[in-house]
């Protein structure tokens, strides 16, 4: 067993995910055996989580976002900087106005419906999913019990989170596991993040109030009176929708549109016709 000084000297590297393989295993083995070092580790972890959860420190204003969107759309690659930059900008602006029409006309026959950009909430859900996968957003509570997770959110978010437990009520084989939850910051308030796993593949559910986020963009699919928005972002499948005052984003890397991920709430056979429209036709 490595001595405590050696291990404590590596704790920061361990907490920052900078140790791999044997080095990581050595620290973990020591922490499991040494109460003193484990206490130091917990203290450091709490301290770092406190710092990390204070973010984001700033959020870009809608005006800045609009200006950046304009830059990303109108600024052509290799644009020369000159006193005539404004002329280039005007020309590029006209080009941008016309190009989508041209592109649309060219590709229209291959696309059944126009697909627009994902809404910010969907993008945040994907980012949250990826950061959690990278270990940058550890769960704040771990439990496979939906009621415990639902209770954990009480007084932490300004809406009610009630996770269903279809597996328990249906008595079916366990197709997925609930792992835990944490808070995430969105639009200057807390949203609920819930982590599931199905066949070793992670599924993320992010919930906020529908006054905070409105689903939009992507491919629209209607089912059972609800309107779902589907996007493929960075190889992940994102489904966003609003229902009874809440807005949800479900992220997975499952097949097709990731509609399998819906079983975390809709596992019963009666829900199959609910999920069916989400499958690609």
């Amino acid at each position: 067993m490595r001595n405590c000084d050696d291990i404590r000297g590596r704790l920061t590297l361990y907490l920052d995910n900078e140790l791999q393989g044997d080095e990581r295993a050595t620290v973990e083995a020591h922490l499991s055996e040494c109460e003193s070092c484990a206490a130091v580790f917990t203290r450091e972890l709490n301290f770092l989580n406190t710092i990390r959860e204070s973010g984001p420190l700033h959020v870009a204003s809608p005006e800045l976002r609009s200006r950046v969107e304009q830059i990303l759309r109108i600024e052509p690659a290799h644009a020369p900087r000159s006193r005539f930059t404004w002329l280039v900008a005007v020309a590029a602006g006209l080009l941008v106005l016309l190009l989508p029409v041209l592109v649309w006309r060219l590709v229209r026959h291959n696309e059944p419906a126009p697909v627009t950009q994902a809404c910010p909430f969907a993008l945040m859900a994907v980012d949250t999913h990826l950061r959690h996968m990278r270990g940058q957003l550890p769960l704040e509570t771990e439990s496979a019990n939906p009621r415990e997770i639902s209770d954990w959110f009480v007084n932490k978010v300004n809406f009610s989170v009630k996770l269903p437990n279809y597996q328990e009520s249906s008595g079916q084989e366990k197709l997925y596991t609930l792992e835990g939850a944490r808070l995430v910051f969105y639009e200057k308030q807390y949203a609920a993040y819930v982590a599931y796993r199905m066949k070793e593949r992670p599924i993320s559910l992010v919930i906020t109030s529908d006054s905070t986020a409105k689903p939009s963009g992507g491919e629209e699919i209607s089912s059972k009176g609800l309107k779902f928005h589907y996007n493929a972002i960075d190889g992940l499948k994102v489904i966003t929708w609003s229902d009874r005052g809440l807005t949800y984003a479900l992220v997975s890397d499952l097949e097709e549109r990731g509609q399998q991920s819906c079983i975390v709430c809709h596992e019963g056979t009666k829900d199959q016709d609910f999920i069916e429209p989400l499958k690609p036709h």
Binding site: N17, L57, K188
Partner: protein, 180 residues
């Protein structure tokens, strides 16, 4: 046509890092107007670049490198150096009509304390805390952004956190909040 789609794809991916870049710009400039200008300058430089990196993590790091170089360039051409102004948290009031306003108050207070502590750090320390603990970059990615050895990142980060720890002597309130 492929180039067009690639540019549109790049734009959408680059836009995902807007908030992160704005946060970093605020850490560098401490001024809302300058930070917004710096963000726009960064995106202008990025769209004008002859080569865009592949992969999301590369793109984010690449944009941060562009931003830092743009900022250093501005500072070099300025006689009076960067200005320092009071930091605004920009946080909107949350719904405090919920069941347990005491918990909400403590949590908000804690976040504000941490943010104020980060903002009060010396420039180099604040920058490295933002890169590592807010944006989640690895040591090597930070070394690339700051153009320094990874060993320097480690030592500077250690000192920055040590300073933060002193500033946040009351941060244990967190344990109290969670216990409520």
């Amino acid at each position: 046509m492929d180039g067009l789609f690639n540019n549109l794809g790049f734009g959408l991916e680059a836009l995902e890092h807007l908030d992160a870049l704005f946060g970093y710009a605020m850490a560098l400039t401490r001024d809302l107007t300058e930070a917004e200008d710096l963000v726009q300058e960064t995106y202008l430089r990025a769209t004008s670049a002859s080569h865009h990196p592949d992969g999301d993590s590369n793109l984010k790091g690449w944009l941060f490198v562009i931003m830092r170089n743009a900022w250093l360039n501005q500072v070099r051409h300025r006689n009076n150096g960067p200005r320092f102004v009071e930091f605004e948290t920009g946080e909107q009031a949350v719904d405090e009509t919920q069941d347990n306003p005491h918990v909400i108050y403590l949590r908000k207070l804690e976040r504000e304390q941490v943010r104020e502590a980060i903002e009060s750090l010396p420039d180099a320390y604040r920058e490295i805390v933002v890169l590592r603990d807010i944006e989640g970059f690895t040591y090597q990615e930070i070394a690339t952004v700051l153009d320094c050895p990874a060993g320097t990142v480690m030592s500077r980060l250690g000192r920055a956190r040590g300073k933060l720890r002193k500033l946040l002597s009351g941060w244990q309130t967190r344990a109290h909040i969670r216990a409520v």
